[in-house]
Amino acid sequence: MNQQAAMDLRQARRSLWRERLAEDWRVFRRNPLGRIGLTLLIMFGLMAVCSYIPPMINPMYNPMTGVDPHIMASTGPSARHWLGTDFMGRDIFAQLLAGARVAFMVGVSAAFMAVVLGTALGMTAGYMGGLTDTLLMRAADMIMVMPTLLVVLMLAALFGQLNIWTIVLMIALFRWPGVSRVVRAQTLSLKQRPFIDAARVAGASHPRIIFRHIMPNVLPLAFLYMTFRVTSAIVIEAALAFLGFGDPGTVSWGMMLQWVWKTGHMFQAMYWLLPPGLCISLITLSFYMLGRAMDEVLDPRLRDETSAG
């Protein structure tokens, strides 16, 4: 009997979360922006996954090192090279696929780091207040006024040899303040909310308040910010590569654009100029749209509207 009851309760608890996710999903799905964004992202995800295939078919499809033995200059699309080849006879399509992988890698990992850092620091500052808050926020202010691209550019020039992970790390280091400011503001406002008082009256300790009560309310926001940070990380990496300060050993879309630009194929190789830029723009767009859609899912006003009545 008791066991049965316990099972029922567990089930009820599970279905509660299922329902909540289902509801979020419903709201999300209603949003055309979200639908388009997600579809595009899935497409890019597939591209990233598929990037492993061409080099397996033929080593000449290796995006960085594979050259078509019969082609010595950039050629247009053909059956053999769907999007043509670059100036050395490398397959543009294979590069494009590899670029998707790099974009995800850079975007997601930089954004993740920035958001984790920003959330942790923002919550610390907001919850602790006082000197900690002041110091952290002054630091954030200072970093925030730096144009990230130019900073990373300068560091790249100074320290030479940037590999893709150092770039990711630097983007993360310079993009956290925005997140932490928002998280801090949110933490501050949460701290003022009566339910925190209610938890304190219930006897909750500081860690419990932080992790059980504040964090779940901050995380969606952090997650939302992550999608926006992903776009900025991808764009910064691409711009860096475009300017020639990227990781020379990585085929990213920005790098592809740089090759087409620097090797003088801009005017005759549309097939080479268009795809990488389009991909960067579209992936940015899709993360952006995803973020906007999530914003609406998270927007409490909206939730209250649907729950009212």
Partner: protein, 323 residues
């Protein structure tokens, strides 16, 4: 108000000092010295050593730091390794160009973005809103260098309408008879493409921010009041909704300034617009540290001061805030 401004300025100075120090440390931490990177077989080892010494790179670090701070305080930003000229002069030559391009673009984008954002929010759900929003979303997320290259390709190469580089035609400037307006026209003509690039990228973000801020504002009660007062739609939109909706836009402009400067540098680089952004990229790739340092500092200063200006502007626009 005055006290607030003074206090903010003091903050800016402190932050600048920090940035200055960080820059110094970074440049000293960086491996190698600038001479080392001059790969010229004509430069013998002996000569290189002598040059390093002459450039003052062999002094003790603290001495260098002291000299560096003193010079900055006195407005000497050193000499560019590359041009041999005082950095200030180099920057002084390029700064007006950047200001011309960047501010024109940002102001135009802000005007268009804000007014279209206003209209889009006002006609939410209608085709106008859809068209504006989609246009903004697309242009806002376009990869700037790519957009620039496409514009170069289309307007410069295909249509041959606009020059794709530089900021003036030498004929115009060599001819002693050209009137000032011809020169202005010439610069404007050269500015078309970079301006268009920056404009497109920025207007989207202004539009989106304005639109969502306006949508928030439209939910406010005083808008209902304005309606109830029987005001015309235009009056409600322009007198009540827009001024309130502008507030978040102003803040977001201030906050995104650092980010748009990235775009400015990229645009200048692609279009060889002789401005600060391009100069910074150039200096960085030519290891011209004094120049890079000064350009960066200038940019940081501009951003910091603009943030102060934004704060003040905000207070001006929002009577609830009184410093």
């Amino acid at each position: 108000m005055k006290r607030f401004i003074i206090k903010r300025m003091a903050q800016v100075v402190v932050v600048l000092f920090l940035i200055l120090t960080v820059l110094f440390v970074l440049f000293r931490l960086a491996p190698g010295d600038p001479v080392e990177r001059m790969v010229d077989p004509n430069l013998t080892l002996e000569e290189a050593e002598h040059l390093v010494e002459q450039l003052g790179l062999k002094e003790p670090i603290l001495t260098q730091y002291g000299i560096y701070l003193k010079n900055f305080a006195m407005g000497h930003f050193g000499h560019s390794f590359h041009y041999g000229q005082p950095v200030a002069e180099v920057i002084w030559e390029k700064l007006p160009n950047t200001i011309l391009l960047f501010t024109t673009a940002v102001i135009l984008a802000a005007l268009v973005g804000v007014s279209w954002g206003k209209i889009a929010a006002w006609s939410k759900g209608k085709w106008k809103d859809l068209a504006f929003t989609v246009a903004a979303l697309v242009t806002h997320t376009l990869f700037l260098p790519w957009l620039a290259l496409l514009l170069v390709w289309f307007f410069g190469y295909r249509l041959e309408w606009f020059p794709i580089t530089g900021m003036m035609s030498e004929e115009v400037w060599l001819d002693p008879d050209t009137a000032w307006w011809q020169k202005a026209w010439d610069v404007g003509y050269h500015m078309m493409l970079p301006l268009l690039t920056l404009f497109l990228i920025h207007f989207g973000s202004y539009l989106l921010v304005m639109r969502s801020s306006m949508l928030d504002t439209l939910k406010e009660d005083y808008i209902v009041t304005a309606r109830a007062k029987g005001l015309s739609e235009k009056a409600i939109r322009n007198r009540h909704a827009a001024p309130n909706a502008m507030l978040p836009v102003v803040t977001s402009v201030g906050l995104s300034l650092a980010f748009s400067i990235n775009g400015g540098a990229l645009t200048e680089t692609v279009f060889s617009w002789p401005g600060i952004g391009r100069e910074l990229v150039f200096a960085v790739s030519h290891n011209d540290y004094p120049l890079a340092q000064a350009c960066f500092l200038l940019i940081a200063t501009v951003v910091l001061f603009s943030n102060v200006v934004v704060d003040v502007l905000y207070a001006y626009l929002d009577p609830r805030i009184r410093y």
